[in-house]
């Protein structure tokens, strides 16, 4: 049993079968990549996992509990954090404030009227946030407004904000899309470090094969809404069906 179990999930948009009988099992503390050409249904699948979409049929279980019908914030509180294709951070807030919010969310749940925070409590939150920023090598940027940061830094901060919640499953949606090579490599290094130093399961949707093969321990290939194969990176590389799906080669 994996920590995330997707069973027979179907999703249809009008005449388009976006997902057809998707089965997927993500093992705990592994990096599982989901790859596939454009329109394969990768993002639809991800949106079904986080509560943005509800599948027509099938089940999605996280750690033995169904996530279907729950709101995104409830699913997050279960222990699933999501990184977006375009970094979603609080642009009007400082880097430190960005990092404090997930720590508050972890401590206080979905809502709390904490109008007054004692000095020690506030210091403890700030200390935790600063520790995470140190890990990201962003401590010197604590008072920056995030709107003015580079895309690579925004991504770094977003991943850090997700980690600050100590999630059990981290979902990444094309984390290096639209990035310069240097930023892409920095992001890969960061994710490798996370994989090697933390007890965390990572599911990653990615286009860039370089990213996938540097990180993944398990790969599922999706094509036209259905999983083609699931295997280790080495096997996937030479798999004829994958080549066909990607390159349109007849085999």
């Amino acid at each position: 049993m994996g920590i995330l179990e997707v069973k027979n999930v179907n999703k249809r948009f009008g005449g388009l079968q976006a997902l057809g009988d998707v089965n997927l099992s993500v093992e705990e503390n592994k990096v599982h990549a989901i790859i596939g050409p454009n329109g394969a249904g990768k993002s639809t699948l991800l949106n079904c996992l986080v509560g943005k979409l509800i599948p027509d049929t099938g089940s999605v279980m996280f750690d033995g509990q169904s996530v279907l019908g729950r709101k995104p914030y409830e699913i997050n509180q279960m222990g699933i954090s999501r990184v977006f294709q375009t970094p979603e951070i609080f642009g009007d807030l400082t880097v430190l404030e960005n990092m404090m919010i997930p720590i508050f969310a972890k401590r206080d749940g979905a809502f709390r009227m904490h109008a007054i925070e004692s000095a020690e409590q506030e210091k403890s939150i700030i200390d935790q946030a600063m520790a995470m920023l140190e890990d990201l090598n962003m401590a010197d940027k604590r008072d920056f407004h995030t709107a003015s940061m580079s895309r690579g830094d925004k991504r770094r901060l977003e991943i850090g904000m997700c980690l600050a919640q100590k999630p059990r499953l981290l979902l990444l949606d094309e984390p290096t899309a639209g990035m310069a090579r240097a930023d892409t490599n920095a992001t890969i290094d960061l994710l490798k470090e996370i994989r090697d130093t933390r007890d965390i399961t990572i599911a990653i949707i990615e286009h860039d094969m370089h990213v996938v093969f540097s990180l993944a321990e398990r790969i599922t290939v999706l094509a036209q809404g259905t999983p083609l194969v699931e295997d280790t990176p080495d096997k996937i590389k030479g798999h004829p069906k994958v080549r066909e799906a990607y390159l349109g080669e007849a085999t």
């Binding site: 914030y73 979603e88 969310a105 007054i116 008072d143 407004h145 904000m161």
Partner: protein, 403 residues
């Protein structure tokens, strides 16, 4: 001090000093000089400054922090006024219970309206709040006449069944609102040379309430709760995917700002114990939006400045008439005098809205951060001149959020 950092504490002290010295500051001209009409230091107008200041501070907690633009906040002001007047009629002429009830009913009202309106955001939210406020206005004006007094408004009468207090004063008049014996209309006058300064009990009571309201708003701005509200404005998507439910946060902000509006309405009734439906009319809701934008949305002091500016113009510019203009320009040759007066005439008197409109446009285009941004720019100019290039780095780093 008081749980504020030194910068915020200085701001609070500054506002407190301005509020307490307002009878002097707003009366710079001798009483019988030609400029005396620009004096704003009379109780009625000063009370309006601080009361609308409270209203705008509260509105800013919703609009400035969460970005939800309510176009119906005057409804809460009206509800607050009606509640306070009913308290005067039924309980006592003491302003404390009246204001407390005003805050509570406005809060409950805001809870109901907010719960429904906050199902939508952006323009739809604004329209929903506007619709609710206009419905409240229509109800107060007609159907609810027994409760609201309808067209004539709700007033005190000689036969009010006041439980704690007499229905009539010793002279057989309607009693006036007070605070443990201190009547709100009490005032002391100080004559200094040609200057006349008036110190009104009602004004100082309102000013103290405004300072408390201002202090609470600073605490809200700086609290984790305030940070969550700013996060709502900044990126709701991220907020949801960070395990936070935006709805109760926005609802709490809505109710708090509704209670501020109720407080302002209660204070209005305490200064002058009557309430009318026109306080809920949509133009009154629009006015507080203007105040917040003119002063600086999301800044602490901005809404108070905006409220002051609008109320000043409403009361001072509207009093200027053609005769006064003629007397100003009497030194010019007749033809030129008439020409200048005819150009300026549309902008004064009843035309003060035109002047306000031009100022508003200028602020929105050139100072999107409102009067506060104007102040910051001027301050920066001075600092730069003082310390030259060294100040530049400092400015670049300086955070302007919620200043």
């Amino acid at each position: 001090m008081l749980g504020l950092n030194s910068k915020d504490f200085r701001l609070l002290l500054l506002v407190a000093a301005l509020a307490l010295l307002a009878p002097f500051i707003l009366n710079p001209f001798p009483a019988d000089s030609a400029m005396a009409q620009f004096n704003a230091g009379y109780p009625d107008l000063m009370q309006r400054f601080v009361i609308f200041g409270v209203f705008a501070i509260g509105f800013n907690i919703l609009f400035g922090l969460t970005g939800y633009l309510s176009f119906g906040h005057a409804a809460f002001l009206g509800v607050g006024s009606y509640s306070a007047v009913w308290m005067f009629k039924l309980l006592s002429m003491n302003v404390i219970p009246a204001i407390l009830l005003a805050v509570i009913t406005a809060g409950l009202f805001a809870l109901l309206i907010g719960y429904i309106s906050l199902r939508r955001s952006g323009i739809y939210f604004a329209i929903l709040t506007l619709a609710f406020a206009q419905m409240s206005y229509a109800l107060a004006y007609s159907v609810l006449t027994p409760v609201t007094g309808g067209e004539t408004g709700l007033q005190l009468a000689l036969d009010d069944p006041r439980v704690l207090g007499a229905a009539q004063s010793a002279q057989g008049n309607i009693p006036v609102p007070g605070l443990f014996g201190l009547e709100m209309r009490d005032a002391a006058q100080l004559n200094l040379g040609d200057w006349v300064f008036t110190f009104s009990a009602g004004y100082y009571f309102s000013a103290v309430v405004m300072l408390i309201a201002f202090y609470l708003s600073i605490r809200i701005f700086r609290s984790p709760f305030g940070m969550m509200l700013r996060a709502v404005k900044s990126n709701q998507q991220r907020l949801n995917y960070t395990g936070l439910n935006a709805r109760p946060y926005t609802l709490a902000a809505f109710v708090i700002s509704g209670m501020y509006a109720g407080l302002a309405g209660g204070l209005m009734a305490a200064m002058d114990p009557l309430a009318g439906a026109e306080r809920m009319f949509w133009t009154a809701s629009g006015e507080v939006v203007l105040m917040a934008i003119l002063g600086g949305v999301g800044t602490l002091i901005g809404p108070v400045l905006g409220a002051g500016l609008i109320k000043y113009m409403e009361n001072i510019i509207s009093k200027i008439n053609a005769d006064i203009l003629h007397s100003w320009f009497a030194f010019l040759p007749d033809g030129l005098e008439d020409f200048i007066v005819s150009i300026m005439y549309p902008f004064i008197g009843k035309g003060w809205h035109l002047t306000l409109g031009i100022i508003f446009m200028a602020v929105v285009i050139f100072l999107p951060g409102g009067l506060v941004e104007g102040g910051q720019r001027i301050a920066r100019l001075f600092r730069r001149r003082k310390s030259g290039e060294a100040a530049k780095d400092d400015d670049a780093k300086q955070s302007t959020v919620a200043e």
